[in-house]
């Protein structure tokens, strides 16, 4: 919402400076976005008088002038034809910046004659396009500031423009008068009265109005208007044009400019029809659907069934409350005009405006709420202005419907105001504030004015009081702790886990990424998503159409971008939500890590090697351990389709899959433009069982003083035998005695097969025996060893390697 200081002063009697007004507006909730003060760029210029002008010795078109200034007589060379003795001029001195020519003046020599400044034209000062000569002022004294002269004689030229942001609850501030009312309530002046004297009608309006019954209840409660015949619709007066230009509107014609003046001045949008182009009466009705209307913005709109429209006998003439029709609009030739002032239902206007995607000043105001009771007074004031500017004669007012009843009252509880705001605002001040804003108080009940549709409860009264009292003055008061003493932990176990996963991965050398929750459909589909349930109806780009089913596609895209920049060794992770479906709650926290390239940069020690599945597995296990997963887990090969079928596994507890790790499927990498191979893991953070009872106590430590014995075994097994099967079998040989079984070597491949036969490999384990009560004898050790060999043979079909 834009307005000028002089426009504000039409409604507000005030001496406050524009700075004080701006500060108050922002504090009141009418946040000032910008102040454009045309005086600022003219501040240095002063008035001067030409004492004498004579021909320049070396130039036909130049004159050398002696000019009386506030600093004495100066010599100035001037090329203007009107530079002559006796005129009062605007002086720009050396050092001044002249906006219209974008130059900072210096003392110059023009064709050999010194010139101490210049005398400006209107264009050089950006006052108008006038450049036929320098400014000649009809009044003013030497040395007087030019801006002061303008303020006294041409106030429009130095009228500051104020641009404020209007929150959706303040339709009343979409008119200058509403803004003035707020400032008056704050004490920055007095609201001037706005007397409304009805214009007597001289004849019956040839255009009548009728509202369809369907719309009277909701849609168009009131439609009024009148014909004004015999008008001259030329350009509007200069003062009106200046007002509109100052707030960025283009003057069109007197009639249209008057409607805009009411829209912005009083938040009373109006419309004018050219009576000559209207056939029959105006009817407000719901569209049948399919009708077309060429609107004032030059575009043709096709109406949908039920949209509110104003028609005459020829069909739709106006998009009610949103935009008029081009064909019935006023032009310079308009002689008889029908002036419309209606009250439209905000919700209906909003729905139609949104459906047709029309943003107009009328829609903006009607959908937020204009003052219904001002419908007829607004019509009367506008009629008078049309008569004043365009002449003519007004008819009787025609109308249908009635002003809707918006009367309601809410209790003002002064104690509650103080308790809620935390400011000591006396009851009398509270009541005075509301009254200044137009509320009517009866006892403790406050009735909001008709222009405040946003006031819908006691809380709104409190807001008004607090806002006018000024929240800037609010002083902080300590808030007691909810309970005394050392606070309890406040994170949920799941929140603790997220943090543990994140910090563990960073400690393992991964860089945390935060990638978008939505990705492109094809990528989502590669990872089991991309279904209709996770699709966005209105994505912002084709790369962000679906909620991600897994964190890996986002990390892979990040990897591809980094590879494109030349970073080939990557360790990226993310901890965040993935979405299984489109219902609230169909999301889970995942922790995913991605390793690509080599384990280390090239170094003199040969540290560099390609990352592999066992790197991913170790890191996944470290995270699982940090999340409190049990040590004993199962590993299956049932990983989803985006994993390498032979090089991926699922860590689980029975049917509960905690984590998938392994190499990503080469086809997926190719489709996502990632140079592989890549290994990764996805951990389902919430699936790790939470401890049933929390205790800080550890189990007692049992240490034996007896020497542990380690024995190594090498087995020849089929190459597809899994190490875990072998380890578990060995472990089962004597659960009491065997403390640990660890794989320490694998011998597989061509050389191994050459030695041990086709399809064979060797796995070597070390078994640690920990006696508990006495030292083991050789016989006992032999017995356990034999049992281990037997168990392994039974479980894997393997035998001791000879």
């Amino acid at each position: 919402m834009k307005f000028t200081l002089s426009w504000l002063k039409d409604h507000l009697e005030t001496d406050a400076s524009v700075e004080a007004i701006a500060e108050a507006l922002t504090d009141l909730g009418l946040e000032v976005e910008e102040i454009v003060n045309p005086a600022a760029k003219l501040a240095t210029f002063t008035l001067a008088k030409v004492l004498h002008a004579e021909q320049h010795p070396d130039a036909d078109r130049l004159r050398v002038c002696r000019v009386l200034t506030d600093e004495g007589e100066k010599q100035i060379v001037c090329g203007a034809p009107n530079a002559r003795e006796g005129i009062t001029v605007v002086l720009c001195k050396p050092g001044d910046y002249v906006p219209g020519i974008d130059v900072t003046l210096g003392v110059g020599k023009i064709r050999g004659v010194e010139s101490h400044g210049m005398m400006a034209s209107e264009r050089e000062l950006e006052l108008s396009d006038e450049h036929n000569g320098i400014i000649e002022l009809p009044s003013g004294d030497v040395g007087q500031k030019f801006v002061d002269w303008l303020a006294a004689n041409r106030p429009g030229a130095v009228d500051p423009m104020i641009h404020i942001k209007i929150t959706p609850n303040r339709p009343d501030a979409l008119g200058v008068r509403g803004i003035a009312r707020d400032l008056a309530a704050r004490g920055l002046g007095t609201l001037k009265p706005l007397p409304v004297e009805p214009v007597a009608g001289a004849f019956d309006s040839p255009v009548g109005v009728v509202i369809d019954d369907a719309l009277k209840a909701r849609g168009c409660p009131l439609f009024a208007g009148r014909t004004i015949r015999g008008v001259r619709n030329g350009p509007s007066p200069a003062w009106l044009q200046a007002r509109l230009k100052a707030i960025g509107l283009r003057p069109i014609s007197a009639l249209v400019d008057i409607t805009n003046f009411f829209t912005f001045g009083l938040n009373r949008p109006l419309h004018v029809f050219d009576v000559a182009k209207v056939k029959g009466d105006l009817r407000i009705h719901p569209a049948k659907g399919g009708e077309e209307l060429l609107a004032l913005d030059g575009r043709t709109y096709t109406l949908r069934e039920g949209m509110m429209v104003i028609s005459d006998d020829q069909g739709p003439e106006s998009l009610a409350g949103i935009m008029g029709g081009e064909l019935s609009g006023c032009t310079e030739d308009t002689v008889d005009v029908f002036l419309e002032s209606a009250y439209w239902d905000p919700i209906t206007i909003a729905a139609t405006g949104r459906a047709l995607r029309i943003n107009s000043d009328a829609r903006y105001r009607f959908e937020r709420g204009v003052d219904p009771e001002f419908t007829l007074p607004g019509l009367e004031l506008a009629t008078r202005m049309v008569l004043d500017i365009c002449g003519g004669e007004a008819s009787q007012v025609v109308m249908d419907g009635a002003v809707p009843d918006t009367a309601r009252a809410y209790r003002l509880d002064p104690a509650r105001v103080i308790s809620l705001v935390g400011m000591d605002i006396p009851e009398a001040t509270q009541r005075a504030t509301l009254e200044a804003l137009g509320f009517t108080l009866k006892g403790d009940m406050a009735t909001p004015p008709s222009w405040r549709p946003d006031i819908l409860g006691e809380a709104d009264l409190i807001e008004e009081v607090a806002r006018i009292a000024s929240l800037t003055k609010l002083e902080g008061k300590p808030m007691r702790r909810a309970r005394p003493g050392v606070p309890k932990p406040i994170l949920t176990p799941m929140q603790v886990r997220e943090k543990a996963a994140r910090r563990t991965l960073a400690a393992l050398g991964y860089n945390e990424c935060v990638t978008y929750s939505f990705i492109d459909g094809p990528s989502a589909a590669l990872f089991g998503g991309g279904s209709e349930t996770t699709r966005l109806e209105n994505p912002i780009s084709s790369e962000m159409t679906h909620m991600r089913p897994d964190l890996l596609p986002g990390l892979l895209q990040a990897a591809a971008r980094n590879q494109a920049r030349g970073f080939m060794d990557l360790a990226l992770f993310e901890v965040g939500p993935a979405f299984a479906g489109g219902e609230p709650g169909e999301q889970e926290i995942q922790a995913a890590g991605l390793l690509i390239g080599a384990s280390a940069p090239r170094d003199p020690y040969g540290s560099r090697r390609p990352v592999d599945l066992y790197d991913a597995k170790a890191d996944a296990e470290a995270v699982l351990a940090a999340l409190g997963a049990p040590v004993k887990v199962q590993i299956t090969r049932k990983a989803a389709g985006w994993w390498h079928p032979g090089r991926s596994g699922v860590i689980g507890l029975g049917p509960n899959a905690l984590c998938t790790f392994g190499e990503l499927h080469p086809r997926i990498l190719r489709q996502m433009d990632v140079k592989g191979p890549a290994v990764a893991f996805t951990i389902h953070v919430a699936r790790v069982p939470f401890p049933k009872a929390k205790t800080a106590t550890r189990a007692a430590l049992a240490i034996s003083d007896l020497q542990a014995v380690e024995r190594d075994f090498a087995f020849v097994v089929d190459s597809k035998v899994e190490a875990l099967t072998l380890v578990n079998a060995a472990q089962g040989a004597d659960k009491a005695l065997i403390e640990e079984v660890r794989v320490f070597d694998q011998f597989a491949g061509d050389k191994a097969e050459a030695q041990m036969g086709a399809g064979k490999k060797s796995l070597a384990i070390t078994v640690r025996l920990q006696p508990r009560d006495r030292t083991l004898t050789d016989e006992e050790i032999e017995a356990v060893s034999a049992k281990i060999v037997e168990k392994v043979a039974k479980a894997t079909g393997g035998s001791l390697r000879g």
Binding site: G29, E31, P346, A350, A351, R354, E367, S419, L420, V421, G457, E458, A459, D460, E463, A466, R467, G476, K477, P478, M479, R481, A482, P487, I490, L491, K499, R503, T504, A506, A507, G509, Y510, N511, E512, V514, Y516, S517, F518, E532, T533, R535, L536, E537, N538, I540, M544, A558, R561, N562, R565, A571, P577, F579, G582, P584, E586, A600, P601, D603
Partner: protein
């Protein structure tokens, strides 16, 4: 005897290696060594002579033995020194490479915010990011036709044909968590709710996803003055300055009343932001007293309970505190950015230990 002593001590001093030393030892102290033989001769002496000679011989034996040991150790030291001289490594070569992981600024700042509010007794609440329109809008006093709904630039989820429910939305703010938290645990309550939020906006300063933290405190007598104090304490602690100055400006949010935008006093000089000084005001958050309709929607009686709510951008807090210039870069995962603006794994913000290093 003196000759014997001199001979052996000279020989020991001149021995070049352990083998030569061993030869000397055998020659002197071996079973058939010169001194051993002389010891044997003692038996044939008369007692008086034997006593004198025996003591002298034992002294000589001990002396030679000590000299042998000393020489042996000296030879070993010399050998070690000689070996170590050859064992030279270039200590300026780099250490074995180790990957350096980093924590994203969003995670770090979320933990900082959490640490501060935890100290003031706020718990952390959470809610779904795909939200129904009731929680995201209606319950927050934003009815379907409210103009504020349009200003939210909402992402909608697709609806299957025949499913006539209003479409779910990607939550446009963390405020729906207020509703869920109050509905679940009633009043009194103090929670913050950090997390991802979504708006259909993408330009120089906007991304379609960003992070907010919501705050909510409901009790019997919580006022807007308490809100101001809490925010002052938060800002002072978060920006790690001695004092801050906040300015409340009246504003409008459908879910709070009265509502206020909050500005913080700061200075911008040479691209450097300083909080708590200067003559500029920067908007940092929106806040207000929870609207009675919002309390009612969450099942809390507005006649009995009152309190405040606020919401601020986590990414923005991170940008302000750590001087990160571009919001869009937060979500691009550029390794150079992650390394430069990221935090070490063990830089865990606490109130006791400080929020940042």
């Amino acid at each position: 005897m003196d000759d014997l002593r001199n001979n052996y001590l000279t020989a020991i001093a001149g021995a070049g290696d352990e083998a030569a030393l061993e030869e000397i030892r055998v020659a002197a102290l071996g079973k058939k060594g010169e001194i051993s033989l002389k010891m044997r001769e003692l038996g044939q002496m008369d007692p008086a002579t034997r006593q004198a000679a025996g003591a002298a011989l034992n002294r000589l034996k001990d002396e030679i033995d000590a000299a042998l040991r000393a020489k042996k150790s000296a030879l070993a030291d010399a050998a070690l020194d000689a070996r170590l001289k050859g064992e030279w490594l270039d200590v300026t070569l780099p250490g074995r490479p180790r990957r350096q992981g980093t924590i994203h600024p969003v995670s770090q700042v979320t933990e900082e915010v959490t640490a501060i509010f935890a100290d003031m007794g706020f718990a952390v609440a959470e809610g779904p990011q795909i939200e129904d329109d009731w929680h995201n809008f209606d319950a927050l006093n934003i009815p379907p036709e409210h103009p504020a709904r349009q200003e939210h630039d909402t992402f909608f989820m697709a609806r299957a044909e025949g499913d006539d429910r209003p479409p779910h939305v990607l939550r446009t703010h963390t405020s729906p968590v207020q509703i869920r938290a109050m509905a679940a645990q009633g009043a009194p309550i103090r929670v913050i709710a950090p997390g991802r939020v979504y708006r259909m906006d993408m330009d120089q300063t906007h991304t379609p996803m960003f992070h907010q933290v919501e705050g909510l405190a409901i009790d019997r007598d919580i006022s807007m003055a308490n809100l101001k104090w809490v925010l002052e304490e938060f800002c002072r602690s978060f920006f790690e300055v001695d004092s801050v100055e906040l300015r409340f400006r009246a504003s409008h949010f459908p879910f709070t009343e009265p509502s206020a935008e909050v500005d913080i006093r700061c200075s911008w000089e040479g691209g450097q932001l300083k909080i708590g000084e200067g003559d500029k005001w920067m908007e940092i958050l929106g806040s207000g007293m929870v609207h009675p309709k919002v309390l009612s929607a969450a099942g809390v009686d507005p006649n009995e309970w009152q309190g405040f709510a606020f919401g601020m951008g986590i990414d923005r807090l991170a940008m302000l505190k750590y001087g990160i210039p571009d919001l869009r870069a937060f979500f691009e995962s550029d390794l150079r950015w992650l390394r430069h603006y990221g935090f070490a794994a063990l830089d865990m913000p606490t109130v006791a230990g400080g929020l940042s290093r």
